[in-house]
């Protein structure tokens, strides 16, 4: 075999002659389309499972919540809910202000000297 002056033509003819029995198998397009569908199904399944896993990890961490409700408070995480008291302490809060000292002592419990020093330092009324 030789390549002659008209190289381009003779090379093309020679290659075609040598490779004319090289043919792809029948139904190649169907095989490719089926392979494409299989790959795409696998990809979609992978993406869906990734979302499910991400949500599954996110809910207990408080990063996401089921049903769109606010995430419950969990220790160690900061949330924007106001604190609440346990049930037995629930009810209207009362203001505890400082009132004037009002001490009632029985005179017999203190010695006269101690009683005198106490009344001089504080303005307690002594009920006799």
């Amino acid at each position: 075999m030789s390549i002659h002056a008209d190289d381009e033509f003779s090379l093309r003819i020679a290659l075609e002659g040598e490779l004319d029995d090289v043919l792809p198998r029948d139904g190649l397009a169907e095989v490719v389309i089926a392979r494409y569908r299989r790959t795409r199904r696998r990809r979609v399944a992978g993406a869906v499972s990734l979302v499910v896993v991400a949500a599954g990890i996110g809910v207990p961490l408080g990063l996401s919540s089921p049903g769109g409700k606010p995430a419950p408070h969990t220790p160690g995480s900061r949330s924007d809910h106001a604190g609440s008291l346990p049930r037995q302490h629930a009810g209207p809060a009362s203001f505890i202000g400082r009132q004037a000292g009002h001490l009632v002592l029985a005179p017999s419990t203190l010695s006269p000297a101690a009683l005198a020093s106490l009344t001089s330092a504080n303005s307690f009324a002594i009920a006799a």
């Binding site: 075999m1 381009e8 090379l11 290659l15 040598e18 090289v22 792809p24 190649l28 397009a29 389309i33």
Partner: protein, 177 residues
Amino acid sequence: MRRGNREAEFTEFVEAASPSLLRAALVLLDSREDAEDALQLTLLRTYRRWDRAREAPAAYARAVLINACRERWRHRARHPETASDMESLGDTSSAEVISFAEAVDRRHVLVRVLRCLPDVQREVLVFRYLLDATVTETATALGIAEGTVKSAASRGLDQLRVLLSAQEKRGRRVHPR
């Protein structure tokens, strides 16, 4: 685009283009199995991007095919244990490679001689004369300048002529008429 329409267009393209793509892959790679794998990968990637490829599917598939063949060469380089007999000859001369290949299969002489050419020359000759690509299309698909395509084609043809005439002389010596 409807799925049925897309599939029909693609099937028509595969029937028309796959023989030449397979032949090109067979020259670029060195085994029928590798060539068929590369062809299937090429068609799969083309179908995946069919909306874009359908404007010029042959050009798109040619560009994909050369990438698939290069991927396979790189894979071969990383996994030399899977190299074929032709490659496992290592740094033997072209003439020795031809004679070895001749012993294996006396048909496809031109294909085996083409495989002895440097990669760029072989790719250019395959694109220009087997896939009927223009100089511009070849340059775009291979990622080289048009001048490089022309010079590689010219050198490749010269080299091919030399190798084939050497092959012819050896054939005459082995089989005197």
